[in-house]
Structure formats: structure tokens, C-alpha cells
Assembly symmetry: C2
Amino acid sequence: MPPRNALYAQSGGVTSVVNASACGVIEAARQHPDQIGHLYAGRYGIMGALREDMIDTGQESVEAIAALRYTPAGAFGSCRYRLKGLEENRLEYERLIEVFAAHDIGYFFYNGGGDSQDTALKVSQLGEHMGYPITCLGIPKTVDNDLAGTDCCPGFGSAAKYVAVSTREAGLDVRSMAESSTKLFVLEVMGRHAGWIAAAAGLAAQEPGDPPHVILLPEVPFDRDAFLATVKNSVERFGYCVVVVSEGLRDEQGRFISDAGSQDAFGHTQLGGVGPVIARMCTDALGYKHHCAVADYLQRAARHIASKTDVDQAYAVGRAAVEMALAGRNAVMPTIVRMADHPYQWDIGEVPLSEVANVERKMPASYIRQDGFGITEAGRRYLQPLIQGEDYPPYRDGLPEYVTLKNVSVPKRLGTPFDI
Amino acid sequence: MPPRNALYAQSGGVTSVVNASACGVIEAARQHPDQIGHLYAGRYGIMGALREDMIDTGQESVEAIAALRYTPAGAFGSCRYRLKGLEENRLEYERLIEVFAAHDIGYFFYNGGGDSQDTALKVSQLGEHMGYPITCLGIPKTVDNDLAGTDCCPGFGSAAKYVAVSTREAGLDVRSMAESSTKLFVLEVMGRHAGWIAAAAGLAAQEPGDPPHVILLPEVPFDRDAFLATVKNSVERFGYCVVVVSEGLRDEQGRFISDAGSQDAFGHTQLGGVGPVIARMCTDALGYKHHCAVADYLQRAARHIASKTDVDQAYAVGRAAVEMALAGRNAVMPTIVRMADHPYQWDIGEVPLSEVANVERKMPASYIRQDGFGITEAGRRYLQPLIQGEDYPPYRDGLPEYVTLKNVSVPKRLGTPFDI
């Protein structure tokens, strides 16, 4: 009997290192042609599976696959699409089985965050509930660092490094100008419910008085008066103030401080706008001239300043998922296990998908400073290793030379359309 | 007679390489102790001179000065402060002469943009009009690349590289997600009157269809209908659209598209906000989900992704200013002269300050595509060499190790206050 095929798919918001995980998956799979036949990738994640729109990674050269390690975003396309429960939408699962069976998919690797691990879990249940044998592994990925069961999430370290580096650099800028111009700089960063990315900005500070002077976290209800007093104090003591604010900042009633209100496919409110709101608030109340940057996608796409630790871990969890699958593990996700803070040591562990799906890990209170506007030494100890090391992509003509794959389609065997 | 002293000052918005110019000035001056006694720096630019608040750069180690080459922002502080005309405010000039005389300042090096070169010119006129002998050199600096008389401006190449790299990276992100999520990404960049920085984003594209799909320049009056049609066409053809917009985008009547309205110390309208305005406009008209990043200070502070060409040129104009001054040149500014496009070759030239002061260089029309939404091959040929090469700072614990100088004050000899 020939070996069964595998399907790899990327899901949710992409990161600067999710392709490093893809690289790990593909390189590991290629080492086991006796156990894994073709390795396909879903075009736009699970949507590609439902539509029978798959990519044959076997058509890509060794060099192209190696280049995934330093190419940001999702090389096969990602999606924001979540499978409903088996009871709610049996049709989707029947379709998945139909596609999997048609292409003899025996392994499914789903690379995503908490919502995506929920999808991976549901797919793994196909085996039990619908009599289709499949080995299903999750691969962690999210800049939000909010996955349960793992010490950190691939994608986060690089976003954290981007934000810490940017905070240090912009802080020097504002310090230079504050005497006669801008006194307040606000940097808005991602983080819907957990303030991990904003917290990482705290690493930029080395000495007391160094920026960021205020970090606004979703974990801490926004206290306008205390915030303004802290900004004022910073300007009076240091001449300027750098604020890093998480998009998910909320007031005492749990309402977002930002004024945007549209929703994404998961029903989450699409945020943005809290940075300008906060900056204007300071100028109105205190009169300081402000500037405001909104990092948005730049923070999760900035492969040029990726953390080497993060790249290594992203690659490692990709490899590990394949090795675990071949070792007979199912419905689990490889994790990062911290062995030591300093010097930092880590290893690969695993967690059942059932413990990851839909669980959102918040920052421990012990990482948040008493006043709510910064991180503690414990927080710094946790965060610091994750941004360690540089891993520069190759450049040509002054720009990073990222790979675009051929993405050759796997011939359809069903050919029946499926509306999503 | 002992050699006379020199004063160096940084002015206007800082850049990621203005300290490389400072490094060039200081290292060159240190090689000529027979001709330049002490090299002082104005604390916060010309304000430091007026306030008799100067820094003794002689107190800094060789290593600290060398580290300026890779440290962004203004190590001595910069300012937004412009000397009025001699007739309008004779007091300021009398004060400058008083301070210069008290400290035997014979050389003045002013590192800034067009407004600052105007100040440098006025200071140089002190010699003629008020009988104080001083050698005055401008040193070019501006991310806006709008200085006359030079092929390019130190500071611009690195901002251009940041924007081109960020556009390429964010473009990959949007392409990954567009099928089921964000279809439009808008990046707002600096450029009050000249679209150089936005134009540089065009370098990110290699193949037809690559992002950016639309560049909105201040040189081209905003045509809403043509813009929306181009966005729609891009989404329909490529699945997504990346727009890079200059903060100075204006309508047919010359009104800024952004909605902000405060003014800076030079009376320029302080911009910001055009990115979100443009993004919302597309969503309202076309229904696409959008994301928007505002690079703001990050683009001019991002020393971590500086252009090596730019760093080399910034350093070179600093050195050249000192060498020109010692060769008896006065009231001039060293410039970058382009010798060849490919392979790129450049040399140092000079231009009289009178030809630089208050002149704003716009982008040649030949660099702007017929439809107004992109750059031509000529534009690409001009821009490409300026982002060439990487020049990474050293890192410690995952962060660039930038230097903070001791900035020891020169003892005051006058001690009289001066209100600015």
C-alpha cells in the first residue's frame, strides 16, 4: 500500500514566521517519502480543502522551500474561516471527508491560533465521528501569544522584537525633538484581548526614565485620570513621553476605547484607532504636541527584523508536528517548553488540541506593574529571550528577497463545487 | 594664537542617519586639532547657541563617537526653531555673536533641511553684516529629500528603504489574507509637499501586479473617482490592493485630504490622518475590508533597516563640511553628486547656501506615471541606488545597542539668560 498523503494549511492572521513552520513541515515530510506520499497545501487554508483547491508542494524546489524560512506571510494563502460544530454544519465535515478521501489525505497539519486549533480539533474528530481515519496535528501560530499550553507562540517573538525595536528608535527621535516640538509619541500595536505585544515594548527600556513611559494593556481597565497624570509626570521629569497602546484597550465597563466597530469573520470586533484617540486625549487635556504611529500589519509582517529565537521555534514546531504524526500522535499540538530563562533554553513539548481550542491565555498579573502602566521584572524575564537574536533575510537591490512559490494546483478528482 | 572653536548643531526633524553626519563632523574635526580647538554641539540645535547651552563633544570617547554612526535621531537634541531675518530680529543675531565671541566659535556647522539651511545662511551673514568672522557650513539632512542643489538628501534613503521594505512585507501579508479577509491595505507615509518617500514604496514591486498598486503623491491632485476605480481594478485583477499615501495629499483646490489642522513651529500644518481617511473612503464606496498603518516617526527613526548608501553619504557630508571649512569654503553646503546610476557611483560636491535656503525641490514629473498612481522607470532608476545596502547596528539582548552620549555642558561664560 502506498503511503498516504498529507495536507498542510495556514489559518488566521499571518505572521512573519508562519512560513518557517511551513518550511519545517515540508522539509520534515520530504525526509519520510515512505510514510508521507504527497504533501499538499490548502490554498487559503481550510477553504482550499473544502473547495478541493490544493497546492502540490512537491512541485517546489529545495531552494524555494528553504526560502520559506525567511519569507513572511502565508505562502499558500491563509483564511479567516472557522468550521462550525459537527451538529451545526455536518455538510462541511462531509465535504472535508469527501475531499480527503478523494486525495487519500491521511495527515492534516493546521497552522494557526486558538480559533484554528478548534478547527483542527474538529477535523481530528472526523476520525471518531464519521469513520474517516485521519491524523490531525495543530501547529501553533499567532502574534498575539495567547495560545494555551505553550510557553510562547511562534510569530509573537518577532512582533515583540519589532515593537521593542521601534519603541526604542522612536523614543530616541522624540527625546531629540521634545524641547521645541513633539513631546508625546503614541504607538498603537496589536492585541485584541491580551497585551503581550504592547508589554514587549517594555523591553526597549534599559534605564529608569527610558521609553516607553506608559504601556496601556487590555488587561488593565483604562483609567483616564491616572493615565493623564502619568503622561504629565513623564513629560515633566524626562521632557517627553512615549506611550504604547494595545488596540484592545477597554474602559471599566469593558468597552473598547477605539471608535471603530466593524467585525471580522469570527465575529470579533475589528479594532484600530485607539492610538489617535489616546494621543488626542493627551493633547486636549495637557496641550502637548503629539505624533502617533499605527504599526498594524507592519508588526506582524516585518520579517526583516524577526527574532532568531522565534524563527527557530517556528521551524521547530513545523518539523515536530510531522515527526509526532509519524510517531502516531494525534489531536495534539507541539508546544514550546521553557527550560531556563537565562541563558534561555527551550524544548518541544505537546498538548492535546482539546486543551488549546478556544482557550485564550492572558498575561499573568505578575507581569504587570502595580500601577498598570508597565511590566515587572518577571514580565521582562519572560519576554526577553523571545526577541533574542537576529535572522536577516537575503537582500537584492536593497530589498529582502522573499520567495513566491509556484503554487501548482493538485488536479481535482471531485470537481464538484462547494459554496463556502 | 590657539585654533578657534567650532559649533555643530542638529536642526529640524531628525533622521536615522543624522548622527552619522555628526560622527563625520566630529571624527574629521578631531583629526585637525591644530585648526579646530574645541568642537561643541548645540543642545537642541540653534537654541543651544542662543541659550549658551552647549555640549563639549571632546568629553566623549572615540568609541561613543563611532557609535553615532549607527545611532538614530539627534544625539545632542534638535529643534524646530527658525531665526527670523536680520531686520526682524536683530536681538537674536546679537545674542549669537555674543555667545560665539565668548566661546571663540569660528566655525558653525548646521545640520538640517531647507529651513535650517536658511538659518545657516543667516548665520553666515553675521560675518558681513555684524562684523563677526565666522565660517558657516550647512550639512544636508531631511527624510523629505526636498533640498535643492543635491542629488539626494541624507536621511531620505533610509526612510525610503523602510517604506519599500514595509510595503513589500505588508503586501505579502495582505495577499495571503485577501481571499477571506482584508482586501485593502493603506500605508501612510511622510512627505508634506514632495512625494519622494511615497514614491520609494514603488521600489517594492518587481513584477506587474506586485504591490504597491496605488501611490498617492502630493504632486498629483487627488482624483477620488480615478483612485477608487484603480483600487477596484486592482482588487478584481489581483485579489487585493496596497495603497501608499503621502501625508501631504491634496485635492484639486490644494486642500489637504487629511483632517488634522494644527501647526508646527514653522507655521506648517501638522498633518496626519490621510491614511485612515483614504481607507475608509474605499470601504464606504467599494465595501472592501481594510487595514491601515501609519508609519509616522518609525520611518525616520528605523536605523535597524537603514540604507548603507544613506549612512555612507550622511557620514561623508559631515566629514566634507569640516574639510571644506578648513579649506576656506564658507556659506556652502556639501552635496551628493550622482556620477552613475548603475552601478551607482556618487561623489561630494558643494552648493552655496543661498541656493538651498527655503527652496523646496519637488519630484520631476518624469518620475510620475502617466496615471499619477505610480513611478516610472526613470523614477525607479533614480530611487533604487539610494536604498542599496544594509548597515545593521550591533545588538544586545535582542535590541540595537544605540549610544547615549554623556553630553557634558560647556561651562557658561556669559551666564545671562536669553528668552526664546
